[in-house]
Symmetry: C2
Subunit: 333 residues, 2 copies
């Protein structure tokens, strides 16, 4: 076992788009567990859009990242040292201290997973927070019913691609996705989306009307901005938006242009509802059961974009913000 640990620190807070200079690779000693603690050698760490918000020094639902300290986020790895009951070296665990090779954590903050049941990466994507976000947002927050038309933005991303597939598996009448390239649009069609468009090809409102001429009932929002405005315009009576993210504006330095058609929520009796996956843990058992079944019988696919090397984690994160990933963006440590 190496005695040198490597971590990615936040070197400075980005203004607008982050750059490589906002991050710093730092070497530290591999930690030693105290009572009740474990040390985990991370194998895969997750980079996610919400992390951009935590790079700003503003109070939010999660505290901001601290300067000159390691970033954190979802990770899966092997226990290499344990002073905690129930954990022995070799155990594979899921936890929240990514962006580093070796993580020291209280054992209560780790959950053992079975590496024979699914690939390690699945615990960070389809069977993890990503999957539950898609499942809970679509079915609980938006309350999708059979026969409804669903629109999801960033549809080739980790959450969006699952939203569309779960919608079809749950009986949606029509599923439409938007994405940022022709290749992604092709992939959405392979995944069973009824229609998909590249949002660069014209005004989102026009593309959405063409893809769903009879309107939409549910919008799963990962993008905000013009996508949300288009969704509101296309919504039928009693439409619902589950608002998961607004990646279009995470790097804005000015307050973003919000939907100019918000008044339509009245006449059409629309509901816009923001959510965080953490509020929907009660669905986990049902979620894992259904998802595992769909994975087994081949009715659900998931994409991963894996970047090698912890030193490339900042670049992986920047690529995610630029939309360079297909499905879940992960770093192999």
């Amino acid at each position: 076992m190496s005695t040198v640990n490597r971590e990615i620190h936040l070197a400075s807070r980005p203004t607008g788009w982050p750059t490589a200079e906002n991050f710093r690779l730092v070497e530290t000693p591999v930690p030693t567990p105290g009572p009740g603690q474990i040390v985990v050698r991370n194998r895969f760490v997750s980079v996610d859009p919400y992390m951009r918000g935590r790079m700003n020094d503003v109070r939010s639902y999660v505290p901001p990242f601290q300067l000159d300290a390691p970033l954190d986020g979802g990770a899966v790895g092997e226990v290499v040292a344990s002073e905690a009951d129930g954990f022995t070296p070799g155990d594979v665990v899921l936890h929240g201290l990514g962006w580093r090779e070796y993580a020291l954590l209280d054992a209560t903050a780790a959950r053992t997973v079975d590496p024979d049941l699914a690939p390690l990466t699945a615990y960070l994507s389809v069977l993890g927070m990503t999957g539950l976000t898609a499942y809970a947002g679509l079915l609980e927050v938006a309350g999708m019913a059979e026969g409804e038309t669903v629109f999801v933005s960033a549809a080739a991303g980790s959450v969006g691609s699952l939203v569309g597939q779960i919608a079809k598996l749950k009986g949606a009448g029509r599923v439409v996705g938007s994405a940022g390239s022709a290749a992604k649009v092709d992939r959405l069609r392979e995944l069973g989306f009824d229609a998909a468009f590249d949002y660069h090809d014209g005004p989102v409102g026009d593309s959405l009307r063409a893809a769903a001429p009879d309107g939409i009932d549910v919008y799963f929002d990962n993008v905000g901005g013009d996508h949300l405005e288009a969704a509101i315009s296309s919504m039928r009576l009693h439409g619902r938006a589950a608002i998961c993210g607004m990646i279009a504006q995470y790097n804005d330095t000015e307050p973003p242009a919000a939907p100019r058609n918000l008044a339509q929520v009245i006449g059409k009796r629309l509901t816009l509802r923001g959510f965080l996956v953490g509020d929907h843990g009660h669905l986990r058992e049902r979620f894992v059961g259904e998802m595992a079944g769909w994975l087994r019988d081949g009715s659900l696919s998931y994409d991963e974009t894996i970047v090698d090397g912890l030193d490339n984690a900042p670049e992986a994160f920047l690529g995610l913000l630029r939309g360079e990933n297909l499905g879940k963006m992960l770093v192999r440590v």
Copy 2:
């Protein structure tokens, strides 16, 4: 009985703020009822902000008003001729053909009310659509719970003043209202609001933070724009907005500036929900029972601004848009 009927027609569609020239007083013969029909001599007609939207030639939840035809809207009056079972001259009825002296309508579109139980005007305000809008929006759409902090805009208006009082009667911890003049703010304090402010006195966000330093749980929106933005910023986790109207932008000719802080719905798990009172008729019986009780025991007050003469109905409507009313704006025919 006069043989001349007078009606207010839409002479032209307003662009931006309506003017007197958009309306025309037209004399027509008093109609004669056909089978199943009645003729009603209107006593009071309602003018409401939503009517502004119907003056535009756009499809909405109600069809637009037609040019060179009478406007319509809530009205109460006496039956003067009837060819319908169950209706005799002298009956007092509530119906939807206001903006005219004599209304010809199918008896199925009229509802008999008891003039001894409440003043005629109450059927257009506190015991009518206005009251149900306040009641349903606060209790069903926003789901206000005991102890919560409630903010309502246009709080001295017909709906807003009831929202605030119902909130207090239902156990809200703190009720805050905004209005457009010092006199209205004084009136809100008399009505039992815990805090009230004139939105002209500074940025709405600052005034709201001062009035509700610990934040708000429920926002009843009659205004939109900067009021909605302020409410989103002040909302606590799991806050809910019942969106009833956006009077601030009804006369806008450009798409309005929408809340620039909409992304907060995610982290704070907010719900924004538009509604129309027509979807909440199932609450009517409970609503009338509770409201009548509160009126009897003096725990609920309502204000009316009554303009005399049908020829002044356009001016009453324009005054409503300018915020010149305290409580419900009505025209005595």
